[in-house]
Amino acid sequence: MTSDKSFYEFISNGVPGPEQKVDADNAIMPARKLAFSRFKELGLPTIKTEEWRYTNVQRFLKDAFTLAQEEQATVTPEQLKAASIPQLDSYRVVLVNGRLQTDLSELPAGGKITVSKLSDAAGNAQLQAWFDKHPHLQSQPFAALNAALFADGLFIEAGVNATLDKPIQIIHVYTASANAFIQPRHLVVLHKSATLEIIESAVGLNDSAIAFVNAVTEVVLEENAELWHYNIQSTIKNSRHIYHTSATQKADSRYHHFNFTLPSAELTRNNLSVALTGSNTETNLHGLYLATGTQHVDNHTFVDHLVPNCNSNELYKGVLLDDANGVFTGKIHVHQDAQKTNAFQQNNNLLMSEKANINSQPQLEIYADDVKCSHGFTVGRFSEESLFYLRSRGIGEEAAKSLLVNAFAFDITDQVHIPALQDFLAEKIRQYVAGAINN
Amino acid sequence: MLTIKNLHAEVDGKKILKGINLEIRKGEMHAIMGPNGSGKSSLSSVLAGRENYTVTEGEVIFEGKNLLDLSPEDRAREGLFLAFQYPVEIPGVSNLHFLKTALNEIRTYHNLPPLESKEFLKLTKEKQQLVDFNANLMNRSLNEGFSGGEKKRNEVFQLAMLDPKLAILDETDSGLDIDALRIVAAGVNKLRNADKAFMVITHYQRLLEYIVPDFVHVLYNGQIVKTGTKELALELEEKGYDWLKEEVHQKESV
């Protein structure tokens, strides 16, 4: 526990180091140790750190945390249901604080797709090959901390040509009886020509203590693999989240990532990065953040074009209500060899209240000449003209506003290819906007 | 004026032109017709010197000079003009400034002094009226935001301004409504004279009702497979290209 000591001190000297971790055969122990020294060297970011200039993470680390936490919890069917997507036919994977609960789960069986505890897969060659190897994680202090001291997580592997009849829904349950720093770690590997749909959602069970989640997911798409990856971030107020999702795409692969940040975690920081290491890939990054109260939502995305002929397309939209704080930083890096790159990025924001604010940094860093790249940013409020039009047709102000927000978000939700999920999101957005407007 | 002998060309290793032979003399109007993909536009590109085409065999003599040895700009300066099928847009470069630069480059090549602004504007006005070109488009950026018809009319206006010896019109009629087509054709007809030759590339006979050719050549599979007069165009309009294709295949199989 800390309180007078800084979080950095606490981690560096106050907790058992990575060598205390008991992984099945310790195959990843060297990587853990390396990560720990990397963390110590990097230190924790301050607002003077360029990538954190708009998110004062120190403020969220002042409380005393413990790294020890519940490995199981009583999850009622009602609680599970709250985090489930109605009408969605899917496999179900339930984790409590990052630990797979097989009794609550419904895993795909007998096929080429396996879902297991990361700790059980410690001897797996894929895990050894990919664990903490993503180049973009190397400079991230929280990712290093996660690699060094993570408790457990998921390992999902899809074999060559593997495909599933329905999506896998992963429900992350977070619970803490005392302020806890929870570190799940996941690895998803799709082998050649495999296809998978993953939907992640989260639920917080206990708001008497703070759950600080520092999660890392590494994604590997081998040649011609395709992953639809949905992440729905909607938990309780007393939770703070830092996510790193880092994907590696080999030739001809397709990665579709959707990120929905909804109320009401105090802090959400998403680091989404994609390294394109093979040609002719397709990357679609869609994000919607809808923040209310004093929520702080920070999306950092990074698309790294290393090779020629890749296409990336990014659209992030934000709706900020009340006193909410939004941050968007999107970077497109086109390396000298990455000719014929098409890379587009757009970030649009709607400020719905006087006190909400947005900080945005869309960045292009380009070293190849035969490319098409662009980025765009807008912030504004919805058109008074449209609002008036709707009201003159007899629609009440709240309903009209809600309608306009939904219309604004439509570009994102429309890209969701699962109807049940699409409906679920539309309904969530409607509820949150109505709640905030009525406030 | 222009002699093409056994011209073979390829692009990215794919053979496109497979032995073109053609003779064009002063004052003549030649129409090149043919089905899609027969090599019509490739022929114009090779003559104008587009870089991605490689000539593998044959020669082209233009006004006594070996055309294929010249850079694209020198071909233009020697008097070869290509009206593009898809004229490019160049933002920020005004039509007028562009034309003045082009005209004076060509004049310098022929050891003529550059045109004074006054003379240039006079010439511009004269040619605008001749080909019925909207003066409002003169100060706009080159082709930027022009409609399809406006772009094609700009090509004909440039043709009038630069006064080449041989003008190649590459599908100038495609995408034009009948009114625009009439205006474009009228412009071309006004520019016809005993010293100038034209090569009109088209997919449709319609254009040839307005611009009457002296010769019609049918291009198929990279070769000129038939040559005739304007009646050939009518025949093609009626029967399509299939009968010709069959004829060619029969010949090949013999």
């Binding site: 947005i358 000449d369 098409k372 | -």
Partner: protein, 481 residues
């Protein structure tokens, strides 16, 4: 036909046109930077005590500061102790007319094509020439005096208009703003001062030509322009420097103050020596330029054409304090060989209904790096603020870099901020089209680049625009095959 590599090599090898030096006897300060240096400069300039004190405050701030680390290039090691901080042509007496100016110097201006002669006077250009930091000739003073306009060297202003200088000096760029501004505050040698009284529209473009001549000197000029209520002024600044193997530092400060309904238009064509093709020598152009729209409905507009310097690192900024105030930034930055440009603007929307517009066109060739970095900040009071930003990058060749780093901070829900950026290269089809009309590739590129930069060049006063166009053509002629 020549291939693109040959053409690129050709421009890379093209020599810097203005790389000659002038042999004039100089009076220089001893090498090194300490309090004595500052006292030396102040004494040389016969400054009053308050000026010296302000300089020393700047020096105190400077000593506590470090070079920033956020830039997108490798910061060269600068040894500020090896520079001399004061250089002035030795023959120094009050000059009344051009005839009294050193003929060598006039010959230099002639080579630069500076509009200092009578014909240019008829064209309506008043020139304050700053030669190695000291103003030697100011023309058309009389005519401006009639209107109550003050246009003089900074030193003169300190002597003759101390109240105005005291009132505004450091109010826009404080002595401790950043390390280079602090350095400038401590050691600035001269510069220009402009005051436009209430209701006066300055009838001619005011122009200053800066030129670094002496070896091992930094140029630290300081410009202060105040436009009082309902006034207007257009100010031009042009820069060249001779070719030398070692690097030279240029750390100028420009402060603009616009009162109610006043407008200041500030144009720069910067053509400092960029170094040779291997990146040896060249000017480090680290300049702090900032304007404040203090009054309501005031307007400040920055236009810059940047083709020179080894490293250009500057962000002409506007603080929109008055309601309905307007800020503009138009920029063309061209880099080639190993040049680096990290430039852009910062616009602070503080007042209500404030508007800003940013148009930036970067062109990179060779092994150069060209970065747009800009901040648009909308404060909580800035109801209905509007910003539009367009950043375009044009790449010539595949060994250069183009980067766009905008920072957007909006704290008011009624504000509208739009940012667009694109990156492209010169299209082969565009070149071919122009070739087919008889225009050779070199000219075609110049034409396309000028067209690309048109929106910015249009903002320049006529005479300057012609020069800028020529500069762009010379700089980039034929860099595409």
């Amino acid at each position: 036909m020549r291939n693109s590599n040959e053409i690129i090599d050709d421009i890379a090898n093209r020599e810097y046109e203005f790389g000659f030096t002038t042999d004039i006897e100089m009076e220089m300060a001893p090498v090194g930077l300490n309090e004595d240096t500052i006292r030396f400069i102040s004494a040389k300039k016969e400054e009053p005590e308050w000026m010296l004190e302000w300089r020393l405050k700047g020096f105190q701030a400077f000593k506590k500061m470090q070079f920033p680390k956020w830039q997108h290039f490798e910061m060269p090691e600068l040894d500020l102790q090896k520079l001399s901080y004061y250089a002035a042509p030795k023959k120094k007496k009050q000059l009344g007319s051009l005839d009294e100016v050193d003929p060598e110097l006039l010959a230099t201006f002639e080579k630069l094509g500076i509009p200092i002669n009578e014909q240019k006077a008829l064209a309506g250009v008043a020139v304050d020439v700053v030669f190695d930091s000291v103003s030697v000739a100011t023309t058309f003073k009389a005519k401006l005096q009639e209107l109550g306009i003050i246009f003089c060297s900074f030193g003169e202003a300190v002597r003759n208009h101390p109240d105005l200088v005291k009132k505004y000096l450091g109010t826009v760029v404080p002595h401790s703003d950043n390390i280079f501004a602090a350095l400038n505050a401590a050691v600035f040698s001269d510069g220009s001062f402009v005051y436009i009284p209430k209701g006066v529209r300055c009838p001619m473009e005011l122009s200053t030509y800066f030129r670094i001549n002496a070896e091992n000197t930094g140029q630290f000029e300081r410009t202060l322009i105040i436009a009082d209520d309902n006034s207007y002024v257009s100010y031009l600044e042009g820069c060249t420097a001779p070719r030398r193997d070692e690097n030279q530092l240029h750390a100028a400060v420009v402060e603009l103050v616009a009162m109610d309904h006043a407008e200041i238009k500030y144009s720069t064509v910067q053509n400092w020596y960029p170094g040779d093709k291997d990146g040896n020598g060249g000017i480090y152009n680290f300049v702090t330029k900032r304007g404040i729209c203090k009054g309501k409905s005031s307007k400040i507009s920055w236009t810059q054409v940047e083709t020179g310097s080894a490293i250009t690192w500057k962000y002409p900024s506007v603080i929109l304090q008055g309601d309905d105030a307007e800020g503009e930034f138009y920029s063309v930055a061209v880099t080639r060989n190993k040049q680096i440009a990290d430039t852009g603007t910062k616009i602070y929307h503080l007042g209500r209904n404030t508007r800003s517009r940013i148009i930036s066109k970067g062109i990179s060739a060779g092994l150069s790096d060209n970065t747009y970095r800009g901040l648009v900040q909308v404060g909580p009071r800035a109801a209905n603020a509007r910003n539009f930003t367009q950043c375009d990058s044009l790449l010539i060749g595949d060994r250069c870099g183009a980067h766009t780093f905008p920072y957007i901070e909006s704290r008011n829900s009624t504000a509208t901020v739009e940012h667009e950026a694109t990156t492209s290269k010169i299209g082969e089809d565009q070149i071919f089209y122009l070739n087919q009309r008889g225009i050779e590739t070199e000219k075609a590129v110049a034409l396309i680049v000028n067209g690309y930069a048109q929106e910015v060049l249009n903002q320049l006063p006529m005479e300057f625009a012609v020069e800028a166009r020529k500069l762009l053509s010379i700089t980039l002629e034929g860099s595409v095959g």
